[in-house]
């Protein structure tokens, strides 16, 4: 996606009115025909985007301001859905659960990803194998079947519970315990640290070796080298990962839904935002309220993203001054 954007920026459109004083009409026509062909080739995507993304999004924006039960036509109620939301204890609970999940899960995942990436960045035997092995969970982690496996692992009297009980710490399985079950979801996301790890690895590879050599000559220890060279040099990659993982984890749904056996319980302890949204929309048929919730989530994610972008001035180091 990133590369596509850059190419677009670099290669300005073919018929841009540049220093071409006046190309013959035939050339102009050919240019236009090429454009047309381009749009034609893009049309399946454009149609898909309009029908499956833009259209439904516009509709959901409208529904957000209505009372809509799927059967009767929507009734305009202005901001009622939003005010009702703020007063709804279950909505507040869902915000709390989601915030907890994002705030605990994302940093843990990134720390682990960075840690393992640092280990794997060094050349050693079987390097490719380790990288693949650590990356594998990211490929399958989002699937429903892994959710079921997780549920089985963390149930009462299952592997985790027995191990824990062996050390005299019996919580009776995480899945049924409202104080614990969210952490099983955190564990599931942390376990999928492979994707950010690969990105970190790519970032680490690009840090010039000379910098480390110079620092070593100056007498910098490993920690100092990490702090003063590695971290600033990979800060753009870190920023990218923080952004990606934060946005991603706000949208957690599948694992909460499967691990809680489709209830988002017990006692609403896994009632993540999208799960409540789903319940409101598809169980209770309050589509207006659910749409309003979706837009509220979009706003929240946009806000967090904006804050991250604003903060990058302070800690993200884009290496350009040297040139």
């Amino acid at each position: 996606m990133g590369t596509a954007v850059t190419t677009l920026i670099k290669d300005s459109p073919p018929d841009a009115p540049e220093k071409r004083p006046g190309p013959p009409a035939a050339v102009k026509r050919r240019g236009r025909r090429e454009n047309l062909a381009g749009y034609l080739f893009m049309s399946p995507w454009i149609a898909g985007f309009l029908l499956l993304t833009a259209g439904p999004m516009a509709a959901s924006l409208y529904f957000a301001f209505t009372d809509y039960n799927l059967f009767d036509s929507p009734k305009w109620i202005g901001f009622d859905n939003f005010t009702k939301m703020l007063d709804d204890p279950r909505w507040q609970k869902s915000v709390e659960v989601t915030a907890k999940y994002v705030v605990i899960g994302t940093p843990l995942k990134l720390l682990l990803a960075l840690g393992v990436a640092l280990l794997l960045a060094q050349s050693r035997r079987g390097q490719a194998f380790y990288r693949a092995a650590f990356y594998a969970p990211s490929l399958i982690g989002a699937s429903v079947s892994v959710g079921f496996v997780w549920r089985a692992l963390f149930s009462d009297d299952a592997v985790v519970d027995r191990t824990q009980s062996f050390f005299g710490w019996d919580v009776g399985g995480w899945v049924g315990n409202p104080d614990w079950v969210l952490y099983s979801l955190v564990a599931l996301t942390v376990w999928q640290f492979g994707a950010p790890m690969v990105i970190f690895l790519a970032g680490l590879k690009q840090v010039p070796k000379e910098l480390y050599e110079a620092a070593e000559v100056d007498g910098a220890g490993p920690f100092k080298r990490f702090w003063s060279i590695t971290l600033p040099m990979i800060s753009p990659v870190l920023f990218f990962n923080v952004l990606l993982e934060t946005i991603h984890s706000f949208q957690i749904f599948g694992s909460a839904y499967v691990v809680s056996n489709a209830t988002c319980g017990p006692a609403d302890s896994t009632l993540v935002y999208t799960c409540y949204l789903y319940q409101k929309g598809f169980k209770e048929a309050q589509m207006g309220f659910a749409s309003a919730m979706a837009w509220m989530l979009l706003l929240a994610v946009a806000l967090v993203t904006a804050v991250l972008f604003w903060s990058q001035k302070r800690w993200v180091h884009y290496e350009e001054a040297a040139r």
């Binding site: 999004m57 489709a262 006692a267 169980k283 209770e284 994610v301």
Partner: protein, 429 residues
């Protein structure tokens, strides 16, 4: 590192970040559906129900018989578990594409009648495609709402108390008809004291049981269009429930969650559980003990508040084949062979043809038959409680909020307030 390298990297990263940020998330869902086509003189109808594998097997056998008798009608089937079924059905119905014929329950009649989803089967009865003859007493009116015939009962069921017979025997308790709530809770205490097993799996979250309790006291859970009790009533019911959890005579709610989808009764963490009598077959397959059906405790020593409810078959108002739908329903509720195949899986067979054809051979099914016989003989059966539109949502909220309350996650007073607020929304929708 090359000159271009880092510049490029920077641009890429910035661009990637920016495009990510603008991507956002569209959480809307579009749904489409397929329509059952027909050709060559044969008609295809779609039939959907909720249930497990076992029910699916029986239904498929029944359909094979139906298709043999009506070779021009093909039945396409679909099934999920209860919750998933109604989610899917709601979406299909909203999209104007519900199955032609489907399993239904009392709680959903008004909800979907209000939205003109249900076929009034009266005209099909008049046309002679569907017979209302030979329904057993007590169930024949279950599918009638406001003068419309919206569902045809397939079997009757009633709330019951399932007990672990070994546990009750060891504690020296013999439940008998007309026993009171005090006697029931004393029994639970005795069970806890003698066998270190909590008694009940959590009676206070079951809407249909609270309904019976209210009916014993001259009220009911629902009126025609709202709730038939007030906050003080529910506060008392839940406060007592909470105290009993704390006293250890009700199974620890955490344990109940952990045992799911198994019942805590079958898991050996309880001595009794209130549920519909036709559900009781599951305990014998899930657990190792022997399970029996006991009378519902009473307030005055006589009235249990019980009534006969029923699963039904309903048609879609939008079906293109109302006649075939009626013929299918007629076959499924009257054909004796179907009765033999289905057994009491969906309650005690509703028509005399099927009831007489099926003689249960196994203990659990015999027990169900005897239970409903006894209840009918005791003369405690009343008329069914109204089920306004929104009943399903209210039932789910009742169970969920009672669970939060029993776990100590919500104060009883807050729980009661929350329930009334959610119920109001659901019933107004």
């Amino acid at each position: 590192m090359g000159d271009n390298g880092s510049v490029e990297r920077r641009t890429v990263l910035k661009a990637a970040g920016a495009s990510l940020a603008t991507l956002g998330l569209a959480t809307t869902t579009a749904c489409g559906g397929d329509s059952g086509g027909s050709g060559g003189g044969t008609v295809e109808i779609r039939f959907a129900w909720w249930g497990a594998e076992e029910r699916a097997k029986r239904i498929n056998q029944s359909i094979a018989l139906f298709e043999k008798k009506y070779p021009k009608i093909k039945v396409k089937t679909d099934f999920q578990d209860y919750v998933a079924f109604w989610e899917k059905f709601q979406t299909q119905a909203a999209g104007g594409n519900p199955p032609d014929v489907f399993q239904n329950a009392v709680a959903f009649l008004r909800k979907y009648d209000k939205r003109s989803v249900l076929l009034d089967l009266k005209s099909q009865v008049d046309a002679g495609n569907l017979s209302l003859e030979n329904f057993r007493a007590g169930v024949e009116k279950v599918g009638e709402v406001d003068g419309k015939l919206l569902g045809i009962p397939v079997g009757s069921n009633t709330m019951s108390l399932v007990i672990d017979e070994k546990v009750f025997e060891k504690a020296g308790i013999k439940p008998k008809a007309g026993w009171t709530w005090d006697e029931y809770f004393d029994a639970l205490e005795k069970i806890r004291n003698t066998q270190k097993v909590a008694g009940d799996t959590g009676y206070f979250g079951i809407m249909y049981l609270y309904d019976l309790y209210l009916r014993q006291n001259g009220k009911a859970f629902f009126t025609e269009d709202g709730l038939g009790f007030d906050e003080a009533d529910l506060t008392e019911w839940w406060q007592d429930g909470y105290n009993r959890v704390k006293a250890g005579i009700i199974t620890d709610p955490k344990k109940v969650e952990q045992n799911k989808p198994k019942s805590s009764l079958a898991a050996g963490d309880a001595g009794s559980e209130f549920t519909w009598d036709n559900f009781t077959v599951r305990y014998a397959t899930e657990g190792d003990s022997t399970y029996g059906l006991a009378p519902i405790p009473t307030t005055d020593g006589k009235e249990t508040g019980q009534y006969l409810s029923s699963l039904m078959l309903s048609g879609s108002a939008r079906t293109k084949h109302p006649k075939e739908v009626a013929q299918f329903i007629d076959f499924m509720v009257h054909d004796p062979e179907v009765g033999k195949i289905m057994g009491y899986d969906r309650g005690i067979l509703a028509t005399t043809e099927q009831f007489d054809a099926y003689k249960p051979a196994d203990a659990p099914n015999q027990a169900i038959a005897k239970y409903e016989e006894d209840v009918a003989a005791a003369g405690v059966l009343g008329t069914i409680t109204p089920h306004p539109a929104g009943t399903d949502t209210v039932e789910a909220a009742f169970l969920r909020i009672a669970g939060d309350m029993s776990q100590g996650k919500t104060k009883v007073s807050d729980a009661v307030k929350q329930f009334f607020s959610e119920a109001e929304t659901a019933l107004a929708a």
